[in-house]
Each structure stands twice: as structure tokens, then as C-alpha cells.
């Protein structure tokens, strides 16, 4: 399946990416080639199969819901690019 430039732009927006104009054409072409190759999955007979794969852990994993000490903001926020004491700072959301 080919993908159009406007579709790539829409998907990039959903993924919060901004593709440079100079890269767009190439990206559209490369994605088109990849998706075209992936189309071969249509030939596989998957009737009646669930989407669940048994590759990983097959049993549900439970544990007791016991509280443990939190590392606290000094650790949690240590790598924040911008913070104000115990809060992350982001550009204003409500204008």
C-alpha cells in the first residue's frame, strides 16, 4: 500500500513529530516501499486466529498491593529539563 504525503503529515501530527520539508518526499517514498513490502502479510492465512501471541509470558502476573516507599521528587524529577521545586514546568496550556 502506498502512503500519501498528507497521510504522513497526519500521522506525524498524531505522533507529535514534525518532519522537515526537505525530508518529507524521501520519508513518503521510504514508508511507501516498506508498507508495500509489508503487504505480503495479506497472503498469510490467519482465519480464526486470535491476536494474542504466546511468545511472552502466558499467565497473568499478580502481586500483593502493598505500599512501598516512593523515591520522592528529588529522584523522580532529577532529570527534568525544567522544574519548579517538586513540579515539572511546561509551556502554558490554558491561554
Amino acid at each position: 500500500m502506498k502512503i500519501s504525503k498528507s497521510e504522513v503529515e497526519k500521522i506525524a501530527h498524531l505522533a507529535r513529530l514534525e518532519i522537515e520539508d526537505s525530508q518529507k518526499e524521501k520519508m513518503v517514498e521510504q514508508l511507501g516501499n516498506i508498507l508495500q513490502y509489508i503487504d505480503k502479510l495479506k497472503d498469510a492465512d490467519v482465519d480464526g486466529l486470535g491476536i494474542f501471541s504466546k511468545a511472552g509470558v502466558t499467565d497473568n502476573v499478580f502481586r500483593e498491593d502493598t505500599p512501598e516507599a516512593s523515591p520522592g521528587p528529588s529522584i523522580t524529577l532529577a532529570n527534568a529539563p525544567d522544574r519548579d521545586e517538586d513540579f515539572y514546568v511546561v509551556p502554558r496550556v490554558v491561554k
Binding site: 514534525e18 516498506i34 511468545a55 509470558v57 502476573v61 523515591p71 532529570n79 509551556p91
Partner: protein, 490 residues
């Protein structure tokens, strides 16, 4: 014997009997790194002070008779494994200054057993790539020939082990990222069974496929490391509660005839794959004979859905990646673009400037394949095909203990040769992706050289949690393949 020639196994012996100290060994590796690293580019970060402090501590422990499995042994770690207080970049601008506040479980386990961590090795950004050319910081060169790639994504770890900058290293493998660089560099690499090794602190790329594992100079070293890093971890709910056998013990009891009666299958679909390099075929054929001489019974098997593996993988992995990498939004850690005062714009500029093109490409494929109207056709279908692939392996293992194949269809390629067409690069993963898709273990063991002198490995895969069979077969193979030169002259 010179320091840099020591494997984990031989270093442990010499350290235990005080023939050498960890400080001397660690310093010798740093001297060697200083001398040759510019021409290789294996490391993103070196932690000389930290490592020498760990080495001194190890020497005290050794002097006091407190000897653990890895006391004083210098190792390197792929820079996608979180190390407390030491920068962990994932080869990405977006994490250029990220300093983890905790150690990943595999890192804690190595440290608990006394290992000395020399530094963090280069990789394709977020482990997405097969050549280590996608790192934001540098390319890594193949120590056998600097014009060639070392493979990827754990190319830095494989190159560091091959250049003998460390006794051994850890890599991670989502679609072949341990086995393929091990093959291209002529060293041993194991991708353990999914769940065998904790993923806590391994920065996620595709969570249902990622596993950390050893890259070592020989099979016994891989067993030593696997002993240390395997086991259940309550911090990773997908880690398995399976019993961990002593992987080294079985190798130490190995004798001639130990592989007699082992059944190894060769998938007929693999051998009819288009584009297998004749030199790889030749090495594979010879490897098969060596195994036969050891008493291994070779038979043809079938993995009927092998042709869909690459396509299914390159949907599933990007889907998981698009979800996992959404966290790099410039708020909690890493790079933030400060040129915009709008939140959505900030996210977009941060990600677009922080991520390289291959990462952005996979995020877009994943987002597309998971988006409304396409989910069933792509992710749903790929996931069902994954079930078929897994069933193929279950059926195959009813008639054999091991599955043999090449690791990659060709020896290492030249730097820059495949960077223009991502699809061509994806297709080089054809033999390694299946083990991740089916969650089974796989090993790459050196088997020969191309006419240009580049190493070529063979791959063996086994049933879930049967790393033991891989190690035993690999060990027997390694001792009988008779390679002329194990390491390159730098």
C-alpha cells in the same frame, strides 16, 4: 599472557590466585582503549574513575577471600542499560544528558557479583538498526576492517569485545541485535529466552521482543554471564519464574561424544532464501559438517511461515516503539526544545530534533499501523502471523533439539552501503528476527571468514528456556571448528 588477552574465565582464575589485580587489569584495558578507540568508536561513555574505584574495591574483596562470580572482571555495557549516576543515552540526542537514578536489574546483578563496569557502548539509536550507523554520536567500525560496519544494534559492545577493550560485554537483542554484530565481529552472542533476563532498566524499544544478553569471546564466558543475569525479577512482571540451571557446570562436564544424538534441524525455507552470500553458504555448510562429526544428527525441517517474519516484525516492533517512545516529550527527562511557548509545538520540536530519522520512521510506521482503520490490517494481522510463526517453531521442536541457520545472509557490509534504503537494511535481519518473535533463545558462534577476512557466524536456536542446549552445542562447535585467528590485530 597480556592482560587484554584474558577472557572472563581466565581473568577469574588469575584474580582468584592473586596473579594479577583487578586494578592492573582494569588499567590495562583503559590503556588499550586510549590507544585504539579512536579508530573503532566502540564507546559513548567511559567511566575510568568509577571503574578504577570498583577495581580497588574488588582487589580488597579478593584479598579478603570474598570472591563472587565476577569479582574484579572488567565489562562493558550497551548504552541502553540504565546505570545509576552514569549517563545512559540510548545513542540518542534526546537522552544525551540523561543520568539514571537507578541501576537496571542486570547492571545491579553484575555489580553485586563484583564486576567492574568500564563504560557504555555505542548502538543504533534506541537499538533500531543493524549496523550501528544510526547512533546520534558516532559510528562504530568493525575491528577486523575499519571500512566495514560491526553490525548492530549492539555494534559497540561487539566491537569492544572483539578489540579486546574489555573481557566481555552485555548487549540487547530485539531482532538480532546481539547475534548479528557478534557474527560480524567474530565473537559469541546469546539472546536468552524472552523472560529469562529482567528487562527492568533496559530502556524499552519493543517490549515483547527485547532481551539483554552476553557478548563474549567464547561460549564459556557467555555461560558465566548468563548465570549471573538470569532469573526472576519482581520489578519486571514479564520476567519468568523458570529455574536457572548452572550453565557453566554442563560445559565443564563436556566431553567428546557429549553431542552424540543431538538432533539439529535446518529449515528448508532458510536455504532457499534469495540473496544468501555464497561465502556464508560455504561457512554454513562446513559448520554443519563439524557438528555432524561431533555426532549431531542433521535433518531438514520446515518453518512454513518464515517468509512473513520480516514483514510481521517490522509492524510489531514499530507499533511497540511508537508507544514506548511517546514518553520522550521534553517534560520528564532528556532534551527539550525551548523555541516554542506552545505545548504541542514543544512536543513536536523536541521529538523531531531529539530523534534521528530511523527512529522517526519507525514511530510513524507504528503510529500508522495502530491508527483507526488500519489496526486490524496491520497490527492485528502481524500479531496473528506471529502466532503462526511461534507455532511453526513448536512443531519443529517436536522433531529436533536445535535449529541451525546462518546469522545474517552476508558478512558485514561497508559503512554507508545500506543507509539509503531502510528496507534493504531490514531484510538483513531475516534469520534472527524469528527467535524474538517466538520468544526462544538463539546463539551466534564464530564459524569462519569471508575471502576479505571478515568473520561469519552460525546461529543455533532452541526451545524456550533451553539455553543449555545452545551453550553445549556452541561449546563443542567452538572447540572443533579450528579457526585460524580469533581476534584481529588492531
Amino acid at each position: 599472557m597480556e592482560y587484554h588477552e584474558l577472557t572472563i574465565g581466565s581473568a577469574i582464575e588469575k584474580l582468584a590466585c592473586h596473579e594479577i589485580s583487578s586494578f592492573e587489569l582494569t588499567s590495562a584495558f583503559f590503556d588499550r582503549i586510549e590507544k585504539y578507540e579512536d579508530g573503532i568508536g566502540a564507546f559513548i561513555t567511559l567511566d575510568r574513575d568509577g571503574a578504577l574505584a570498583q577495581a580497588k574495591k574488588a582487589d580488597q574483596d579478593l584479598a579478603a577471600g570474598r570472591i563472587s562470580a565476577l569479582t574484579g572482571v572488567p565489562l562493558a555495557l550497551k548504552d541502553i542499560l540504565c546505570t545509576k549516576g552514569v549517563k545512559t543515552t540510548c545513542g540518542s540526542r534526546i537522552l544525551e544528558n540523561f543520568i539514571p537514578q537507578y541501576d537496571g536489574t542486570v547492571v545491579s546483578l553484575l555489580k553485586e557479583k563484583g564486576a567492574v563496569i568500564l563504560g557504555k557502548t555505542n548502538l543504533d539509536e534506541f537499538a533500531m538498526g543493524s549496523s550501528t550507523e544510526n547512533s546520534s554520536f558516532k559510528i562504530t567500525r568493525n575491528p577486523w576492517n575499519p571500512d566495514y560496519v560491526p553490525g548492530g544494534s549492539s555494534g559497540g559492545s561487539a566491537a569492544a569485545v572483539t578489540a579486546r577493550f574489555c573481557c566481555a560485554a552485555l548487549g540487547t537483542d530485539t531482532g538480532g541485535s546481539i547475534r548479528q554484530p557478534a557474527s560480524h565481529c567474530g565473537v559469541v552472542g546469546i539472546k536468552p529466552t524472552y523472560g529469562r533476563v529482567s528487562r527492568f532498566g533496559l530502556v524499552s524499544y519493543a517490549s515483547s521482543l527485547d532481551q539483554a544478553g552476553p557478548i563474549t569471546r567464547d561460549v564459556r564466558d557467555a555461560a558465566i554471564l548468563l548465570n549471573v543475569i538470569s532469573g526472576h525479577d519482581k520489578l519486571d512482571s514479564t520476567s519468568a519464574k523458570a529455574t536457572v540451571p548452572d550453565f557453566t557446570q554442563a560445559l565443564d562436564q563436556f566431553e567428546k561424544g557429549s553431542l552424540k544424538g543431538v538432533k539439529a534441524g535446518i529449515p528448508k525455507e532458510y536455504l532457499s532464501t534469495e540473496g544468501i552470500d555464497p561465502e556464508v553458504e560455504k561457512v554454513f555448510h562446513h559448520a554443519k559438517q563439524v557438528l555432524q562429526d561431533l555426532g549431531v544428527e542433521i535433518r531438514e525441517i520446515s518453518l512454513p511461515h518464515a517468509e512473513y517474519v520480516v514483514a510481521a516484525y517490522y509492524i510489531i516492533a514499530p507499533c511497540e516503539a511508537s508507544s514506548n517512545l511517546a514518553r520522550y516529550d521534553g517534560v520528564k527527562y532528556g532534551f527539550r526544545d525551548r523555541s516554542s511557548d506552545d505545548l504541542i509545538e514543544m512536543y513536536k520540536k523536541t521529538k523531531s530534533k531529539g530523534f534521528g530519522l530511523e527512529v522517526q520512521r519507525r514511530i510513524i510506521i507504528g503510529t500508522y499501523a495502530l491508527s483507526a482503520g488500519y489496526y486490524d490490517a496491520y497490527y492485528g494481522r502481524a500479531s496473528k502471523v506471529r502466532t503462526l510463526i511461534t507455532e511453526d517453531f513448536s512443531k519443529a521442536f517436536e522433531t529436533c533439539d536445535l535449529i541451525l541457520s546462518p546469522v545474517a545472509p552476508a558478512p558485514a557490509f561497508k559503512i554507508g552501503e545500506k543507509t539509503d534504503d531502510p528496507l534493504i537494511m531490514y531484510l538483513t535481519d531475516i534469520f534472527t528476527l524469528s527467535a524474538n518473535m517466538a520468544g526462544i533463545p538463539g546463539i551466534s558462534v564464530p564459524a569462519g571468514y569471508s575471502s576479505k577476512g571478515l568473520p561469519i557466524g552460525i546461529q543455533m536456536m532452541a526451545q524456550k528456556f533451553d539455553e543449555m542446549s545452545l551453550l553445549r552445542a556452541g561449546y563443542g562447535f567452538e572447540r572443533n571448528i579450528g579457526l585460524a585467528q580469533k581476534f584481529p590485530d588492531l
